[in-house]
């Protein structure tokens, strides 16, 4: 079994791929029950409220949105760290939505996760070697050449010194710890990696190193990614397709060009225009200023959830929830009055 399989990079293709998707998500929902006060009424936080998307083999899908949009909750449901309240997750044709822990074990070789915080996602009492080997140990996998050799190989792949497998996490910097987390995710040759804000906790100069590394690994091993982030510029650098989330729903989904050059959904436009442009000094003119804060996911607005902050909102928006459909700009957008034309 060759160690390094080079897979041609997936071309930025159409919305739905013709070959069977690696991961399919339908109507995925997660509601958290909360109680207001000691004897208060039970309420539901609708963190994720019915989302659908596919990921093809070798494809990178970005999940973007601001706090409370549900992207992290979605990521955790994909790897079953959280149980979905409703909906279906299909991986390689198998329904894993409510699969048992034992049957999940096999699936977990193919579906791995990288966490945001390099300081809390590695067990401080284990050596780096033990951490990176853990997915193999837990699954009873003995690679040809032995576990240690594979660990060293992995450390080298992520740019760390293979001799350091006997060191402890605290002996490494944040960026290096994140690399250890990546090595661990690669250990059992997954097909898809869920990366939950993999660079947000890192210094700017280190972020670029890790982004470049992830890109190289994605190309070299043909890995599929669900890349969760709030930083639109980072996502643009890494993902071929992007889904924009707002208050538990996907409001727009399209290719990188569609989303960044010709976004249809007003929220996507507002989000993009809020990102400061270093090449334009001073307060940006023509920036869309969104008023107020994101409404509570306990009682989201009726109809279109974005309408309370949308400058185009009309009566229809309060009465009828817009469904995701192809917009004039080409992407799929959940809006009754999608934007047309290029950004700016």
């Amino acid at each position: 079994m060759s160690d390094l399989v080079t897979v041609p990079q997936q071309a930025a293709g159409p919305e739905r791929t013709s070959s069977a998707p690696l991961l399919q998500v339908e109507g995925l929902t997660k509601h958290f029950p909360v109680r207001s006060g000691l004897f208060g009424a039970r309420q539901l936080v609708r963190a994720v409220d019915g989302i659908d998307f596919d990921v093809a083999p070798g494809e990178t899908l970005g999940l973007v949105g601001e706090s409370g949009c549900g992207k992290t909750t979605t990521g955790r449901m994909l790897v079953r760290l959280l149980e979905p309240t409703a909906g279906k997750i299909t991986f390689e044709g198998r329904d894993i939505t409510h699969a048992s822990v034992t049957s999940l074990r096999a699936m977990r070789q193919d579906l791995q996760i990288i966490f945001q915080d390099p300081y809390s996602s590695l067990n401080p009492r284990h050596t780096v070697g033990k951490i990176v080997a853990m997915p193999m140990t837990v699954n009873g996998i003995n690679p040809p050449g032995g576990v240690i050799k594979r660990v060293q190989e992995l450390l080298e792949i992520v740019g760390l010194n293979p001799e350091h497998y006997n060191r402890y996490p605290h002996e490494f910097s944040g960026g290096q710890r994140q690399r250890i987390g990546i090595a661990r995710a690669l250990a059992v040759r997954p097909k898809l990696i869920v990366a939950d804000e993999p660079v947000s906790a890192l210094d700017v100069s280190i972020q670029a190193q890790v982004i470049n590394l992830l890109r190289d690994l994605q190309r070299e091993f043909g890995l599929a990614f669900v890349f969760i982030a709030h930083d639109l510029a980072v996502v643009r650098h890494f993902c071929q397709r992007i889904a924009v989330m707002y208050l538990g729903k996907i409001v727009e989904m399209g290719s990188r060009e569609q989303i960044y050059d010709r976004p249809s959904h007003p929220y996507t436009r507002a989000l993009l225009s809020a990102v400061p442009d270093v090449t334009k000094l001073g307060a940006a003119t023509g920036r869309i200023r969104l008023e107020g804060d994101v409404p509570t996911p306990i009682s989201p607005p009726s109809g279109c959830r974005f309408r309370t902050r949308c400058w185009k909102a009309q009566e229809k928006c309060a009465q009828e929830e817009p469904l995701l459909q192809i917009s004039p700009n080409g992407s799929r957008s959940a809006c009754h009055f999608p934007e047309v034309g290029a950004l700016r």
Partner: protein, 355 residues
Amino acid sequence: MAEGKHAAPGAYLQVEDLKVQFSTEDGVVRAVDGLTFSVERGQTLGIVGESGSGKSVTSLAIMGLHNRKRTAIAGKVLVDGRDVAAMPDDQIRRLRGQQIAMIFQDPLTALHPYYTIGRQIIEAYKIHHRGASKAEGRKRAIEMLDRVGIPRPDKRVDQYPHEFSGGMRQRAMIAMALVNDPELLIADEPTTALDVTVQAQILDLINDLQREFNTAVIIITHDLGVVSQVADDVLVMYAGRMAEYGTAQQVLREPQHPYTWGLLSSVPSLHGDADEDLLPIKGNPPSLINVPPGCAFHPRCRYAMLDGGPCDIEIPQLLPLTTPGDSGHLVACHLSERHRRDVYAQDIAQVGVAQ
């Protein structure tokens, strides 16, 4: 070495050769190693740096918040002509919250969870207005909450921090900082914990308030985008020292220091070629106990010793550029000016946010 705005006499805040050191078991931490800059009223200085650059330690030194017993501070911090670094605690306390105010990165941890927002703002007000009545304090708090754009301020004033969203908490903190009309506002990573749309609102707010009250503002951040939005002048810090200093136009659009280049070319942008690899800065930020000899940045610098310069032996001085029209632009680098311009044009101007 005083040149132009860099050390302008008469500026509201003047920092002269500030050094801050902590003694630890492992050695002396040189957190700040010779900082000189000034800020006028109505102007904004952006201090850019990553972890371990010394930027937060600098802001604490300006506020007089370091523990004198454990911190060695040298140099001058002149606020309206008075040296804060040499002032006894009781005098600084009178300045703090009144003439100089600060807003912190994470509003949830900076606000007291047990007291209402109103109570916390009123406390900041009454410390410097001892004669004020409860009613006056409350009126002022509601006024400030309204001023920072919090809806229903008369209701919100009696709520607790956890009942506010992240953006609103930051606004509340700004209200608390501005309640006594300070002349200098220091904002330490004010938007790092916030979403990008909320960040935009907060930066706009700070800009508006500055114009209204003619406040001198220092924004400390690692985010070049934030700096480009609000700063008139930019100071780039590395390992406790000044790497580059100038106007926002000079530092962000015509940068001269390899570290600034590194920052600009390693940050992904919404424009330009998304498939082009980012140009990261190799290596890691240095330890402030064992700062590399000579230029602190040299182990990570692509251009170290290219000119035959003593990058690994001699600490480069912060010197003004000689090009006419570029006055007030200072760089600490051994590379020749000519060489730097060539490198920038060839390597940097095409990558990352520098495009």
